[in-house]
C-alpha cells in the first residue's frame, strides 16, 4: 500500500477524531516555552484540511497543493507556516505522481525538512520540528514497505524527542530560556510525534494513555 490522496485523506480524518487530546497536549507544551497555541492552531489546520475533498482524478501533488492553500488561509503562525511551506514543496515534487511509494518516504521528508530549514532559517540541532524530520528522514532511508516506513517514522519521532528533551531550545520563543526548555519537549517536535505517529497508528489510544501519565 502506497500513499495516495485517498490514504492521506483517511489519515487526516483519523487524526481529526483525536484533536481535542492533541490540542491540549501541544498547547500545554507550548505554554511552557512559547505562547501556548501550537495545539489550537494545529487542530484548526487539521479541521480545515479535512474539509478538502479528494478528487479521484488528481495527483498527490495536486491534492497536497490544495491542502496547503486551504491551510494557508487558516493561519500565519510559525509552525503553521512551516507546515504549509513544506506541503507546498512536497506538492511541487509530486505534481505528476499518482502515489508516493514507501521507498520515496525519506526523500519526501528531506524535501519538507529542507524547505522548513530555509524558511525558518534554522539549523539542525536547535530543537525544533526540523530535528524530528531529520531523524525520520535518516530512519526511513532505504525502507521498501509502507508498514516498515510507518514503524520507523514512529520510532524516529520518539527518538528525536528523547534525544532533545534535555537540550535547550535554540530558536523561536524559547531561545534564551535554556533552563526553562531543558526537560521540556519542543511543541513542534511533539506535534510530529502526535500527528505523524497517530496518523497511521490505530494504537494511538495506548500511546495516549502512556504519555498522559508522563511526569509533567
Amino acid at each position: 500500500m502506497a500513499v495516495t490522496p485517498q490514504t492521506i485523506k483517511a489519515a487526516l480524518d483519523h487524526i481529526a477524531g483525536d484533536t481535542a487530546y492533541i490540542e491540549n497536549r501541544l498547547n500545554e507544551a507550548d505554554a511552557r516555552l512559547g505562547d501556548g497555541d501550537t495545539g489550537t492552531m494545529l487542530a484548526r489546520m487539521i479541521g480545515v484540511m479535512t474539509q478538502v475533498d479528494v478528487d479521484p482524478a488528481e495527483t498527490v501533488g495536486a491534492y497536497l497543493g490544495r491542502l496547503a492553500k486551504a491551510s494557508a488561509r487558516s493561519t500565519g503562525s510559525s509552525f503553521g507556516t512551516l507546515i504549509i511551506a513544506a506541503l507546498m514543496a512536497v506538492s511541487r515534487a509530486t505534481a505528476n505522481a499518482d502515489r508516493i511509494e514507501a521507498s520515496e518516504t525519506a526523500s519526501m521528508f528531506s524535501i519538507a525538512r529542507k524547505e522548513m530549514t530555509s524558511r525558518g532559517k534554522t539549523e539542525l540541532g536547535a530543537k525544533t520540528v526540523i530535528d524530528s524530520l531529520a531523524r525520520i528522514e535518516a530512519a526511513t532511508d532505504g525502507v521498501v514497505s509502507t508498514q516498515e516506513a510507518i514503524t520507523r517514522i514512529g520510532q524516529a519521532a520518539d527518538a528525536a524527542l528523547d534525544a532533545f528533551r534535555d537540550k535547550p531550545c535554540r530558536v523561536g520563543r524559547a531561545r534564551i530560556f535554556g533552563d526553562v526548555s531543558i526537560g521540556n519537549d519542543d511543541p513542534g517536535m511533539l506535534a510530529v510525534k502526535l500527528i505523524i505517529g497517530t496518523m497511521f497508528d490505530d494504537d494511538a489510544a495506548t500511546d495516549r494513555a502512556v504519555t498522559s501519565n508522563m511526569p509533567r
Binding site: 498547547n27 505554554a31 511552557r32 516555552l33 512559547g34 505562547d35 501556548g36 497555541d37 489550537t40 492552531m41 494557508a72 488561509r73 487558516s74 493561519t75 500565519g76 503562525s77 510559525s78 509552525f79 503553521g80 507556516t81 512551516l82 504549509i84 511551506a85 524558511r119 525558518g120 523561536g172 520563543r173 524559547a174 531561545r175 534564551i176 530560556f177 526553562v180
Partner: protein, 332 residues
C-alpha cells in the same frame, strides 16, 4: 476573565468589523477581510508602509493605520501571524508606486509570511524592503539582538517611518529610518496576570497572584524571573537599569518613553510606574522628548506593563513629533 464575545471563531472578524464601523478612517481590503487600510485614497508616489501581526494587541497592529503611520495592516488570528495572502494584500494596498516597507514584529510566522508575500509582490513589480521590530531586551542577549521579539517599541518605528514616508522620502530612506528607530529602541515588560485566548478553557500561561513575571512576552512567552511583587518603584528601577544596560550607537541624552499597559493594568498605575521611571531618567541626566502613557500595545486582558525607550537623535525626534493620526493616537 469572561470575554465579551459571541463565538470564539468570529472573535477577530467581528471585532475588526466593529473597529471599521467605529472608525470610518479605516476600511477592509482583500477577500480574506483581514487587511485594514486607510479609507482615503492613497497618495501616488508616497512610499507605502505595510504591517501585520496577530490579533489581540489593539491598538497594535492594525489600529495604527492612519496618516503619518501605516498604510495597511494584515491581521492574523489571535496571537498568530497574518496569512501570506493577507500579507500580500497589505503590501499591494500600501504601495503607491514608490515601493513599500514591510515593518513588522520579529515573530517567525509574521516574518516568513511577509517574506513570501514580498517575493510574490516582487513578481508584480512592487519593490519592498523589510524591517523587523526587535526591541524586547528580555527575549535574547545583546549578542543576539537581531533575534529579539518585537513588542511595544515597534510603535516608534511606525511613527518615524510613517512620518518620513508622509514627507515624501524614498524607500531607502524610509527603510533606513525605520531600522534606526528599531536599533535605538529597547523594551522590557512584566506580567501580573494572564489573558485568555478566545475559545480556550484555560489561560495561555499562569502568573501566581501577587507575583511578577518579569520579561514576559506579549503572548505570554516565559520571562526572565518571577518573584513576589514588591513595589512599582522597584520595578521601574530594574526596568530602567536593563533598558540602559546596553549602549546604543550615537546614544543621546534624549529619550522618547512609552509606559504601556498590557491590558488590565489601569492608567492610575501606569502613572505611578511612569513617575518612578521618570525620576530615574532625570537623575541619570536624560531628557524626555516624547512621553506616552497608556494602553498602546496590549494582550487583551493581560495585566502588567512595559516600558520602551527610544534613544532619539535629532532626525528621529523631529519625525516623532510630526503630525500623525490614527484612531488610537494623535500627534500634532
Amino acid at each position: 476573565m469572561t470575554k465579551i464575545m459571541n463565538i470564539a471563531s468570529n472573535y477577530v472578524d467581528e471585532s475588526l468589523e466593529g473597529l471599521c464601523l467605529a472608525h470610518p478612517s479605516l476600511c477592509f481590503v482583500g477577500d480574506e477581510r483581514r487587511v485594514i487600510a486607510r479609507s482615503q485614497a492613497k497618495d501616488r508616489g508616497k512610499v507605502g508602509i505595510a504591517s501585520g501581526g496577530g490579533y489581540g494587541h489593539l491598538p497594535l497592529f492594525c489600529g495604527y493605520v492612519g496618516t503619518g503611520l501605516l498604510d495597511a495592516c494584515a491581521v492574523g488570528n489571535v496571537f498568530e501571524g497574518p496569512t501570506v495572502g493577507s500579507a500580500l494584500d497589505s503590501i499591494e494596498t500600501s504601495d503607491g508606486g514608490a515601493g513599500t516597507l514591510c515593518l513588522i514584529g520579529n515573530y517567525g510566522g509574521d516574518r516568513m509570511n511577509f517574506e513570501m508575500a514580498a517575493a510574490m509582490a516582487g513578481d508584480n513589480d512592487i519593490r519592498t524592503r523589510t524591517v523587523l521590530g526587535t526591541d524586547d531586551v528580555a527575549s535574547a542577549g545583546e549578542d543576539e539582538a537581531d533575534n529579539r521579539r518585537g513588542v511595544a517599541g515597534l510603535l516608534f518605528a511606525y511613527k518615524c517611518a510613517g512620518a518620513a514616508a508622509e514627507a515624501g522620502e524614498d524607500l531607502e530612506t524610509v527603510t533606513r529610518i525605520a531600522q534606526k528607530a528599531v536599533d535605538r529602541t529597547r523594551t522590557i515588560g512584566f506580567a501580573l496576570a494572564p489573558c485568555l485566548p478566545p475559545g480556550r478553557d484555560t489561560t495561555a500561561f499562569t502568573v501566581e497572584p501577587g507575583t511578577v513575571d518579569f520579561g514576559m512576552g506579549i503572548h505570554g512567552e516565559p520571562g526572565l524571573w518571577h518573584r513576589p511583587f514588591t513595589s512599582a518603584d522597584d520595578l521601574a528601577m530594574e526596568m530602567i537599569d536593563r533598558l540602559m544596560a546596553e549602549r546604543v550607537s550615537g546614544m543621546s541624552s534624549k529619550v522618547a518613553i512609552l509606559v504601556n499597559s498590557l491590558g488590565a493594568s489601569p492608567y492610575e498605575e501606569l502613572f505611578i510606574l511612569y513617575r518612578g521611571a521618570r525620576r530615574l531618567l532625570n537623575e541619570r541626566g536624560y531628557e524626555e522628548s516624547l512621553t506616552m502613557v497608556g494602553p498602546y500595545v496590549t494582550s487583551m486582558e493581560m495585566a502588567g506593563a512595559s516600558i520602551s525607550l527610544c534613544f532619539v537623535d535629532e532626525e528621529l525626534e523631529t519625525l516623532l513629533a510630526a503630525p500623525a493620526g490614527c484612531p488610537f493616537w494623535r500627534t500634532s
